[in-house]
Amino acid sequence: MYKKIFRYELRRLLWNRVFLGLLLILLAYGWLTLIGEILLGVANTAPFSPWSFGSYCGKLLPVICAGELFFLTFFTGTRECRVLADASPVDPGRYAAVRLGAVLAGTLLLSVCGAALALGFYGAVFGWMGFASLAAPGLLVLVPAVVFCLGLGWMLGRINGALLYAAIAGILLVSQLPMPAAVDFTLGTFFGTFPKTLGTMDPAFTVPPSILWGRVGYTVAGGIPILFLWRRRTK
């Protein structure tokens, strides 16, 4: 039953022109970033180092988050969900979870496509395949930001659907502004400057606690509204 709703919602997200357009924009932008900046290597590391890959993920992040918030607008169109909600005897809490799951799955697909582009590029250009080392920076960038946007977007969507568009604009703006490294949404400054302070060439991937706490902060800030709203709905 919930599986069916999930599949239905996911198809609604993925099977339309907007998703296709977003994916195309993401890939085009990713390609330009790869050949324009990443190819040179970030902070004198290899273009396929965790640092460069993390920087690449950070560059794509605004597009991915904008996509995620955009998916959330699908569920603020009140008409459709009420039809479904009224017609079937579902638990609203679990129903909300299923829909958030669908949004997450769509966002995940975008992220995987973006990452796959870079991995394919590394493989094709450098014949380099050590992809496992790239998981940590990728997750460090993507997970907190995606969770944060999910919570923020869901909360705003409950208030007013139009706020989601404001959130998209806000995310795009925030990722352009210079921020202190710890709360930098895209971690651009961290990947660009931190490796040079480590004093060795091609340093292994490490994360100082301040950055880690910043990322935890984003995750928690996004997770709380989800848990809170969800619990209130299930009561």
Binding site: L32, I35, L40, P47
Partner: protein
């Protein structure tokens, strides 16, 4: 009809596809800022206005073409279902629909104008011009969207297929934009007007004049084509030819108007008044020297009017006293801007005939008249017209112009320039020129305001030993740079007055002048005349030096350049760097056929460092110059590809080149400066190096001639090798 139009417009405004077209048009400019800049010039207006507008214009053209095709295909579908025929004729509905799309494109431009306004004002700050901003949206962007719609409609009327029509419009756009055949020609640019760059401080009048003229041409052409294509709309199930003949019979006034419009457009195109007709293979044209050795100019008196800021016309009269030493009749030649005509010639009071030789060559054309055998002759000319620019690259050099914010008239555009010898260094030259109010002229001679008329301000410019000079006028402010022995006058746009004052730039530039004069030699060509450094428009592309005038590009004054740490530690120090270019770059050019990073920048940066060391002491110079250079060079040495060249070899050719030039880029400023610093140590210190540089400045190099100093010239002068200074 009015009601129907409103109805149609409202329907369009409610359609999401209209909004999609508008969104595409308004989002693309964002990518123009840094992702896809179409122009590489670095004035603020180019970066924050020309680049975004260009991308929005090109994308919007296609978006609105697509929107039009979608809407017209709906008309076709409805007509097949015979839904609309009863109420209103298909023809009227089609025309209304195209008109509403044009209205939508205007609304898009208004929306863009409002949305991008605040950011553009903020970024451009003191160089923001409301006029230029508005023209960018309403003369550049809006007509392109409308033309995109009309072009699509024309194709659709003929082919009756949306896909074929869209392809046709796209191919037409690309052919005009990227094809070798037309891309350089401003009149083929029906979507995005020809945009070489944009000026911050001196207006973009000529750019917009040429743009407006090309819009007029295409309005006629597209209007004519639209009317003609309307006749092709299928009627009563007939095919293309049948419908056309039937349409011709029914709507013959339309056909007549179409022919008139097409002819009008063609005539406008053929007789465009902006570009000269220099042959495309101008390099192979053999220049004839018409200068007569037996004719000598003894005095020149010119009265010119350059106050017409609407069309930019110039008119004037010139009186030349000429001695004929041959005792025979002689032909006297004049070189003049090809846009001008000589209305009348009088020789010794008698009307004479002026002959037009009719061959344009680099914004010049020769005229001539007959001189009698008398020794003393007075030649009076009346002339005028709109100055034309050289047509190379479709007239990218939009420099010769008379406008509200800028007047730039070279020797050939002030008056006909007689091709004869000057009698002596004391031969008087006098020009009385009327310029738009609020301008200060700068020329080789001395200028003085004499009166104010309702047309503008009359200036008297006096000089000796010449028969022609050039005049640059704008809201120039003069700063006297003392300290070099000879007076140096520095002219810059009023817009930068506060900025330069707050930077305390004048004292920094004075220090640069004093330093270079003392260490390398004076920067002058003509004794007894002040040396003038002008800030000039970007359309000169690179600066020049001639006689006692030297130009520095306006991009030296942009906020971004003043923050360029490679050139100097502060804005004032960057301007000192730009002044030092008067010695290294304009005084003598540094270039090398083999080493692309041996340019005027390295030595200029080194001289800036030495100057700052003298002004602020060794510690300051070390922390702000030597250490950053070393860090930059060290950083480029740590680059991944430098450490692992095997990965560089794996890259495809085109990326490899890009990466190598990025890594080596450090060599242009910091790397070369550091190399000169190393050479300084090897030749025995600062004084020894200064002597070498001074000799290079005064005598030039030998490898490419005295105007150039190559890397080998430099190393030979130092008695060093590339290996010794670490340049391999």
């Amino acid at each position: 009809m009015r009601r129907l139009f409103r109805l149609e417009l409202r329907r369009l405004l409610q359609s999401p596809l209209t909004w999609l077209a508008a969104a595409v048009t308004l989002v693309l400019p964002l990518a123009g800022y840094s992702l896809f800049p179409l122009l590489s010039w670095t004035t603020m207006t180019t970066i924050y206005l020309a680049n975004p507008i260009s991308l929005g214009t090109l994308g919007g053209t296609l978006a609105f073409a697509a929107l039009t095709l979608y809407e017209l295909s709906r008309v076709r579908r409805f007509r097949m279902e015979a839904l609309t025929d009863s109420a209103v004729s298909t023809l009227a509905l089609t025309v209304l629909r195209v008109l509403s799309i044009i209205a939508c494109s205007l609304l898009t431009a208004v929306l863009g104008f409002a949305l991008y306004g605040p950011y553009t004002v903020w970024k451009l700050d003191l160089v923001f011009s409301l006029g230029d901003y508005a023209l960018c949206w309403f003369l550049v962007l809006f007509p392109a969207l409308a033309f995109g719609g009309i072009a699509a409609a024309v194709c659709d009327f003929i082919f009756q297929r949306a896909d074929v029509s869209f392809l046709a419009v796209t191919v037409f756009l690309l052919a005009c934009k990227v094809g070798n055949l037309w891309a350089e020609n401003p009149w083929w640019q029906w979507s995005l007007i020809k945009f070489p760059a944009m000026s911050d401080d001196f207006g973009n009048t000529l750019l917009f004049r040429i743009g407006a003229y090309s819009r007029l041409i295409w309005l006629c052409l597209f209007g004519g084509l639209f009317l003609l294509a309307m006749l092709c709309l299928r009627r009563y199930g007939k095919r293309l030819c049948g419908s056309f003949l039937l349409g011709l019979r029914r709507l013959w006034p339309c056909a007549l108007a179409a022919v008139c419009l097409l002819c009008g457009g063609g005539l406008l195109w053929r007789n465009q008044p902006f570009l000269d007709h220099t042959p495309a293979d101008w390099m192979s044209v053999e220049e004839v020297d018409y200068t007569s050795e037996v004719l000598h100019i003894t005095s020149t008196v010119i009265t010119a009017d350059a106050s017409d800021t609407l069309l930019g016309n110039v008119s004037g009269s010139a009186v030349y006293q000429i001695e004929n030493w041959s005792g025979e009749t002689q032909r006297l030649y004049f070189e003049m801007n090809p846009g001008y005509t000589i209305y009348s010639v009088k020789v010794n009071g008698q009307p004479a005939e002026a002959m037009d030789h009719g061959k344009d060559y680099i914004a010049g054309r020769y005229w001539s008249c007959e001189l009698p055998a008398d020794r003393e002759n007075t030649v009076e000319l009346a002339y005028g017209g709109m100055p034309q620019i050289w047509n190379v690259n479709g007239g990218a050099f939009y420099d010769t112009v008379v406008s509200r914010r800028y007047v730039d008239l070279n020797t050939k555009s002030i008056a006909p320039k007689p091709q004869a010898e000057i009698l002596s260094e004391d031969t008087p030259y006098s020009l009385e020129i009327t310029l738009p109010a609020g301008m200060t002229p700068v020329s080789e001679g001395t200028a003085e305001a004499v009166s104010t008329t309702d047309r503008g301000r009359v200036w008297s410019i006096q000089d000796t030993g010449r028969s022609a000079l050039s005049v640059y006028a704008a809201d120039f402010v003069k700063a006297d740079l003392e300290g070099g022995g000879i007076p140096i006058e520095f002219y810059f746009s009023e817009k930068h007055r506060e900025q330069l004052e707050s930077l305390n730039a004048v004292s920094s530039m004075e220090a640069a002048v004093a330093y270079c004069t003392e260490h390398y030699g004076p920067r002058t060509f003509e004794q007894g005349k002040p040396f003038k450094i002008l800030q000039l428009t970007e359309f000169q592309f690179g600066g020049f030096a001639s006689g006692n005038i030297s130009a520095t590009m306006e991009e030296s004054f942009t906020v971004e350049n003043l923050q360029d740490k490679e050139k100097g530690a502060s804005g004032a120090e960057v301007l000192a760097h730009e002044i030092i270019h008067q010695w290294w770059g304009l005084g003598v050019m540094l270039t090398d056929l083999e080493d692309p990073y041996w340019t005027s920048e390295g030595l200029t940066t080194y001289s800036t460092y030495r100057l700052m060391e003298e002004r602020y002491g060794e510690d300051y110079a070390r922390t702000h110059y030597l250490e950053p250079w070393e860090a930059a060079v060290e950083d480029s040495r740590n680059n991944f590809y430098v450490r692992h060249p095997e990965y560089l070899d794996r890259l495809p050719e085109r990326y490899r080149g890009d990466i190598q030039s990025t890594i080596q880029g450090v060599n242009q400023y910091s790397g070369t400066a550091l190399m000169i610093k190393r050479a300084e140590d090897l030749v025995g210190g600062r004084e020894a190096m200064d002597e070498i540089l001074s000799r290079l400045y005064r005598e030039g190099g030998t490898e490419l001639g005295p105007a150039y100093v190559t890397l080998n010239d430099f190393l030979n002068a130092c008695g060093l090798t590339k290996e010794a200074v670490g340049r391999v």
